[in-house]
Each structure stands twice: as structure tokens, then as C-alpha cells.
């Protein structure tokens, strides 16, 4: 599904990713762990197509296509979803309008008919239950004045509605209390199937007790310095990152 080879990327002229290699197959869950500043969000943003990040070398193949040639919206149309570490507030745009627009744009791009407001509301009801999303948040401006936890929950709710093929969750666990964490994790798990894949970016092992990864990778200073199974996460929890230097 996703194959990253020798990816190097910079921001403001500073090289952050220094040769990343990663392969993700359908049905798999990969965890990317690493200390603050190691480049996890950079990798997530490059995958989503954020233009501030300059790709210096390497390539990314996604379902047989060169991902780097696609605009962010085209990537979304083809099933890529980034749950933001810092979801953006958009005053004046209601959450439900935002999501319906996104939903319909993705459908349009895939040759499907658009769905009207009434049917959309029906469709999202069960997804709201899945992540125990507060109804009143739907008519508020996107993320505006949401608590940290509500923002993260909103990301997973959007993911549940848009049903992406490749989800990248950037620190979705940070700022969540244990109940919220369980809810979010349940949501992610409920959406897992053999056709989609998830990349979970985190620097705590905690989330991985709920979303059990098939692979764990350690990103350190812009490179993946170690990969392993789910037990690697526990080892990191115990020993920290220093031993990998």
C-alpha cells in the first residue's frame, strides 16, 4: 500500500528526515515512536502533502502511484487521512458543514453521487456514537473553543466518517485522559479491516496497549533506527531511547 524509500525532507532549509524507509501493507498497524523533535510529525505532514516541507530526496509510492506528485486534496481523495497532532480551529465554518463538504468532495472525486444534508446527518449518527462525540460540537465552528480532548475525538470522528484507506494518527493520544483514550482507541479498532492500514505516531507506549500494532519503528534524529514487533514498545517504555543512540 505504502512504500517510502530513502525519504529526506527539510523545513526552512533544515533537514529533518534523513533517509526514511518504511513499507505498510493493507490490514497492518504500524507504530512510529520516538522522542520529541525526532521528525514524527514531519513524516506525517509530508505524507499528507503539506507544502511547507521540502522533499529533498527519495520517493513515496502509494498504491502504485507516486504520492509526491499529488496535491493534499488528491491524497485525501485516494484515501489518505492525517489525524493532526494540533487540529486547526476554523472560525466561521461549522463542523458539520466542513465534514459534509469533505465527504462529498471525496465522493465526487471517486465518481460517486453527493449526499444531501439530511442524509448526511443520518449517516454520521452511528459514527458519533462510536467516538461518543458530543452532538453540540457539530454545529460549532471547526475545533473552535474545543478542549484538547474534544479536538482529538473530532479527528477520529472525521476518520470514522471519511473511512480512509491509510490513516496516520499523529499523537492522537496526547492530551487524552484514560477514558477518552479508550474511546478513541475503540474507534480506531472498530474501523480496522483487512483493506486499510494505520500508522500510529506516538511517543508514549500507553496508546499501544489499546491499539495493538503489528510493527513498531523507532524514529530517531530523522531516521528509523530500529524496527520490531509490539514488544519493542515495551522495551522502549522501560529503557527510554538512549540505548538506541
Amino acid at each position: 500500500m505504502l512504500e517510502i524509500s530513502n525519504l529526506k525532507a527539510a523545513i526552512d532549509g533544515k533537514e529533518i528526515l534523513k533517509g526514511i524507509n518504511l513499507k505498510v501493507n493493507p490490514g497492518e498497524v504500524h507504530a512510529i515512536m520516538g522522542p520529541n523533535g525526532s521528525g514524527k510529525s514531519t513524516l506525517a505532514n509530508v505524507l499528507a502533502g503539506r507544502e511547507e516541507y521540502e522533499v529533498l530526496a527519495g520517493n513515496i509510492m502509494y498504491n502504485g502511484e507516486n504520492l509526491l506528485e499529488l496535491d493534499p486534496e488528491e491524497r485525501a481523495h485516494k484515501g489518505i487521512f492525517l489525524a493532526f497532532q494540533y487540529p486547526v480551529e476554523i472560525p466561521g465554518v461549522s463542523n458539520v458543514y466542513f465534514l459534509r463538504t469533505a465527504f462529498n468532495e471525496i465522493r465526487k472525486a471517486n465518481g460517486l453521487e453527493e449526499i444531501d444534508a439530511a442524509n448526511f446527518l443520518k449517516l454520521i449518527r452511528s459514527k458519533m456514537e462510536l467516538v461518543e462525540m458530543d452532538k453540540t460540537l457539530m454545529n460549532r465552528s471547526v475545533n473552535e473553543g474545543f478542549s484538547g480532548g474534544e479536538k482529538k475525538r473530532n479527528e477520529i470522528f472525521q476518520m470514522a466518517v471519511l473511512e480512509p484507506k491509510l490513516s496516520i494518527l499523529d499523537e492522537t493520544d496526547s492530551g487524552l485522559d484514560i477514558d477518552a483514550l479508550r474511546i478513541v482507541a475503540n474507534g480506531v479498532n472498530a474501523l480496522r479491516n483487512s483493506n486499510n492500514a494505520t500508522v500510529v505516531v506516538t511517543h508514549y507506549q500507553r496508546l499501544l496497549q489499546y491499539i495493538v500494532p503489528d510493527f513498531v519503528h523507532v524514529l530517531y534524529n530523522g531516521q528509523i533506527v530500529k524496527s520490531g514487533g509490539k514488544e519493542l514498545a515495551l522495551e522502549l517504555e522501560e529503557k527510554g531511547y538512549d540505548w538506541l543512540k
Binding site: G92, E105, I106
Partner: protein, 437 residues
């Protein structure tokens, strides 16, 4: 300076030939004084502080001919139809090139508590209402108001009786037609005690080229009366428009202006509010959208003369291409005006490198127990919001459009008359789709 003096000559010549029967009106003596004043003042140069950012040389150089009543005869009922708001069930008053057209108007739904008269008739009859003219819109120092006073022959006079409530909103439609025409309408609005009403003014062009509308409005809102005054200015981008609107409020009254400026080549709006009693509330909101080489200038002046009044201003601008915007908001708080609560903000969105906004807040405060704030922001669309939308699948242009719309929304939301709000929203969406982003 020489060129400006010469440019007033044209108007002196025109003044001699422009009036027939009207010269017999008592008001004509005022016109004569006003044309003298105008020729003495001349068009303001950018050396004048209030005109620093708006150069009217193009207006002063052009040869406009003052609109005669005949010039307004070409407009038909079906022409007017296309400027109507859908689902509008209130009265519609039509003014063409400054002349009130009763035949084009729809006065059926006019409440008997609301009186609409043509200014021409009032002047012909030398009614006492005529004496009030100019009381509010002082022209001693304001060339364009003097010019309007010199050339105005007609306009609408709207009077709302005391204690009348729930009158249907009134749509006052201004149409400009013909080439290089100078229209000088005068609007007078009197809202008597305890009355309340909504008046929507709209400005349009019809087969018009290089025309200049120089309008003056005088508005009185009496004790405990409430006026919502909405405006849509959507004239062609070859038109010039200068508006001077003077509002006088008495105690416990409210006045709310929501002004949409979407058209015009060179537009200057002066809104001047005198708060002459206690517990007055005034709201001035505005949205201006300019593209190409459009220039839109909003000048507001709020005179807090009495205690316990509040004034809130929110102006938003969206500028693209080489468009220029000006916002100047002056707030004067006199010594007696304790407990004044004055808030002003102007936010401008620049959608291109060459677009430009000049903002000038001016607070003059002589009372010590007041709350006055002002803020101005100039910026581009939020890049991270744009990326967030795109990352969810919303294409670039549509994402720009959504964010631009959201920026304008707060001002549009302050419109409480749905038929008008819908019209404004539709126009904005059309702009967004066609050219703005």
C-alpha cells in the same frame, strides 16, 4: 491647485442651466450658498488629512452632467425587477438618477404609519420639512455634501410615526443610468419616538457608464426609536460613488448600520453619528469587497456627547488584484460622555500581493471613565486552516472560498432581515465562484 479650481467651473456653469421651476423653491437660496461653498472648497486634495488615502482627481477631472428628470424616464418596471430581492414582501421605493419614481415603486404594503414622500414635492410646497434639510449634513466644510446640496432636486423622505412597530422593512433602491451622469439624491429618514423599522438601501447601475452618484442622507432616530439600516452597494466597476450619511440619535435609541460595498470604481462612504442623549446604542458594521482596480474607502465618525452610550464597529474587507481599501474610524468621546463603551475593529484580508489597505483608527477621548478599544488586522488566509481543509479532501479553490466566506460571515450574520441576508450571501458566493479566489 489651479486644475482643481478650474474643475469647479464646470459645476458653476451647469448650476446656471440645471434649474427651471426649482429656482422658485425657498430651498434654492440654500442651493446657491452651497454652490458658492463648493466652488470655494473645490474637490478635496490628498493633502487634506481626511482624504490622504483617497485621490478624487479622477472625479474632479471628469465631465459629468447633472442628471435631469428626463434621464430617469428610460427605466421600466421590468428593469427594476432584476434588482428586487426575492421573497421581499415589503414596500420598494425606487430612485433613478436621484429622482423618486413613484410609478416604479411598490407602495402597496406600506404601513399607514410610514410615510414616503418625494423630496421634490416637499421643496415645491415649501413644506416645513424642507427647513430640516442640511441641519444634519453640514456642508460648510465638506465639498461633496455642498455639491449635493447645490444640485439635489429630489430623493426620498421617509417618516415613521411615533409608537409604530412591526412595519415591514422598506427597500429603497437607487438606480443609476446613462453615461457620465451626476446624480445627487438626498435621502431623509425620520424615525419618531418609540418607533422601529428596517430600511434596506441598494445601489445599482443600469446601462450606465462612468457615472457619479453623490448622495447625502440625513437620518434622525428619536427617543427610544430603533432603526436597522442595511445597505448593498453593487454598482458597476466604472462608477463613482460618494456617500455622506449623517445620523442623529436621541436618548435610548438604537441604530444599526450594516453596509455591503461590492461595486464601484471609486467609492467613499462617510458615516457620521451624533449620539445626543443617554443610553444610546449604535452599531456600524461593514463588509467591502474590491478587485481589479477598485478603491473603497469607509470613513466613520462617532461623536459620543452624552454618558452611558455604546458604539460598536466591525468592518471587514476582502481585497484582491490591485484593489485598495481605506478604513478610517474616528471616535470622539466628549467630556460629559462618561461610561462610554466604544469598540472598533477593522480586519482586512488581502488575497493578492498588490492589494492594499490603509487603516486609521482615531480615538479622541476627553472623559476619564470610559471603555474604548480598537483593533486592526491585515492578513492572508490562514495557511494551516487551508491545509487542514485540503488534507480532508476539499480542493484548493473551494477551501479558499470557504475560508473567505467564513471571514465575511460575522458581518453578514448581523443582518436580521432574511430576504436581504440571502441576497448578500448569494452575491458573495457568486463572487467567490467567479473571480474572488
Amino acid at each position: 491647485m489651479n486644475s482643481i479650481e478650474k474643475n469647479t467651473e464646470k459645476y458653476l456653469d451647469a448650476f446656471r442651466t440645471h434649474f427651471n421651476g426649482e429656482a422658485k423653491q425657498a430651498f434654492h437660496a440654500t442651493r446657491e450658498k452651497a454652490v458658492d461653498t463648493f466652488s470655494r472648497l473645490g474637490f478635496p486634495s490628498t493633502k487634506k488629512e481626511e482624504w490622504r488615502f483617497t485621490n478624487v482627481a479622477e472625479i474632479s477631472r471628469k465631465q459629468f452632467s447633472p442628471a435631469g428628470r428626463n434621464s430617469s424616464e428610460t427605466v421600466s418596471v421590468s428593469d427594476v425587477e432584476k434588482f428586487m430581492f426575492s421573497d421581499w414582501d415589503g414596500p420598494v421605493l425606487v430612485v433613478v438618477n436621484g429622482y423618486f419614481k413613484e410609478k416604479l415603486s411598490n407602495l402597496d404594503s406600506l404601513s399607514d404609519k410610514v410615510k414616503v414622500e418625494s423630496l421634490a414635492k416637499i421643496l415645491d410646497n415649501n413644506d416645513k420639512a424642507a427647513n430640516k434639510l442640511g441641519q444634519n449634513a453640514i456642508w460648510a466644510d465638506e465639498a461633496f455634501t455642498a455639491l449635493n446640496t447645490a444640485f439635489t432636486k429630489d430623493g426620498c423622505v421617509i417618516t415613521v410615526d411615533a409608537n409604530s412597530e412591526n412595519s415591514k422593512p422598506v427597500h429603497l433602491m437607487h438606480i443609476s443610468t446613462g453615461d457620465a451622469i451626476l446624480s445627487s439624491p438626498r435621502t431623509v429618514v425620520n424615525i419618531n419616538k418609540n418607533a422601529n423599522i428596517t430600511i434596506v438601501e441598494s445601489f445599482h447601475s443600469l446601462n450606465s457608464k462612468d457615472s457619479f452618484t453623490n448622495i447625502v442622507s440625513e437620518i434622525f432616530v428619536d427617543e427610544n426609536a430603533h432603526l436597522k439600516h442595511y445597505k448593498l452597494q453593487d454598482v458597476d466597476t466604472n462608477s463613482f460613488l460618494v456617500g455622506n450619511c449623517a445620523i442623529n440619535q436621541n436618548q435610548n435609541s438604537t441604530y444599526q448600520s450594516v453596509a455591503m460595498d461590492f461595486g464601484g470604481k471609486l467609492v467613499r462612504n462617510n458615516i457620521s453619528l451624533a449620539l445626543n442623549g443617554e443610553n444610546i446604542s449604535s452599531i456600524l458594521n461593514g463588509l467591502y469587497i474590491a478587485q481589479g482596480e477598485q478603491h473603497i474607502d469607509n470613513h466613520t465618525f462617532i461623536d459620543h456627547a452624552q454618558p452611558h452610550c455604546e458604539s460598536h464597529e466591525l468592518y471587514r474587507g476582502i481585497l484582491k488584484d490591485k484593489a485598495k481599501g481605506v478604513f478610517s474610524g474616528k471616535i470622539l468621546v466628549r467630556q460629559d460622555a462618561q461610561k462610554t463603551d466604544a469598540k472598533q475593529s477593522n480586519n482586512c484580508l488581502l488575497l493578492s500581493e498588490d492589494a492594499r489597505i490603509d487603516t486609521k483608527p482615531q480615538l479622541e477621548i476627553y472623559a476619564d471613565d470610559v471603555k474604548c478599544t480598537h483593533g486592526a488586522t491585515v492578513g492572508q488566509l490562514d495557511e494551516s486552516a487551508l491545509f487542514y481543509l485540503r488534507a480532508r479532501g476539499v480542493p484548493y479553490k473551494k477551501a479558499m472560498s470557504i475560508l473567505t466566506y467564513a471571514f465575511a460571515e460575522e458581518v453578514i450574520d448581523s443582518i436580521k432581515t432574511d430576504a436581504f441576508k440571502n441576497k448578500v450571501e448569494a452575491l458573495l458566493l457568486e463572487r467567490l465562484e467567479k473571480s474572488l479566489v
